[in-house]
Symmetry: C2
Subunit: 154 residues, 2 copies
DNA sequence: ATACTGATTGTAATGATTACAATTTGACAC
DNA sequence: GTGTCAAATTGTAATCATTACAATCAGTAT
């Protein structure tokens, strides 16, 4: 964890940004909640525990900055809020998401599934891909199992 | 075009909704601007030309309804607005988008590129896919050409 | 110490979207 | 055709996320 923060610090410095205490607290919250997909508001509330004097505007600005540095990805699942999702370290591509329409859970797929697809797009559409977003909507394995169990009871 | 509207009308009726004049005007605007990715506000302004008495709230509600019926898809490219995109008739999957980071253009890919990927996801993650969203961010062929031309001048 | 740049703060403003209460419309029974 | 009723629509007000602003603060270099 400390290593991770150190590296982010270096990354900031390399672009002549500073890792201020507020920024560090924000990054820590993100690291501690790596599985989740927190909104800016969520992050704000969690950071407030560590650093009660922090302002909402600072959290927004920090998240914006981290997005620029590709430390996090800003994603949007269609509810009205942007969510911020830590990139796996060293990942050059954005991971994919499985959104359950039943229970609302969001799972992540770290594998790069789009290699072949991207080749096709670059070749056939002459589009230089820099990044991608891929989200599947459907029923997660937990809800599928639950349903099967219920049907078994009938 | 009239056929298309007729079919949408039937679809509405089948769920016991009505195709009111306001709703029809909204659908017409969407059909006439099929290539574009209009925001609710955009639609509102265009519909006002046909039916000046329409209210913004009605446009929002109509778009919401059409989204439910899968006539349009609600998409989000990261700017603060939702955009509404007509589905190709009979398409069971949502088409993909190419967003140009240079000029902001949004092109569509109607081909289904994800067949194989979806098989993998369903098999390996036991996730029942109902729908998907795939967007590539990068440089569109127009901007690539423009750049090449500029470099040729040097 | 002084000056300067960047960062942070709380609050106010903005902009998209939704909720609300009053009014209108359209379909159907008579 | 007329009356009735639910659904639809309207304009406005409220809400919610996000951004802009102006004042203050911190850290660094001179």
């Amino acid at each position: 964890m400390e290593n991770r923060i150190d590296r982010i610090k270096k990354q900031l410095h390399s672009q002549s940004y500073k890792l201020t205490p507020q920024r560090e607290a924000t990054v820590r919250v993100l690291l501690e909640n790596e599985e989740d997909h927190l909104s800016a508001e969520d992050v704000y509330l969690l950071v407030k525990d560590k650093a009660p004097e922090i302002g909402l505007a600072t959290v927004y600005r920090t998240l914006e900055l981290l997005t620029e540095l590709k430390v996090v990805d800003k994603i949007n699942f269609g509810d009205g809020v942007s969510r911020y999702d830590l990139r796996k370290e060293g990942a050059d591509h954005f991971h994919h998401h499985l959104v359950c329409m039943e229970c609302g859970a969001v799972d992540e797929i770290q594998d790069d599934l789009l290699g072949d697809v991207e080749k096709v797009v670059e070749r056939d559409w002459h589009f230089q891909i820099k990044d991608h977003r891929l989200t599947f909507h459907g029923i997660c394995y937990r809800c599928v199992e639950k349903k099967e169990k219920e049907n078994g009871d009938q």
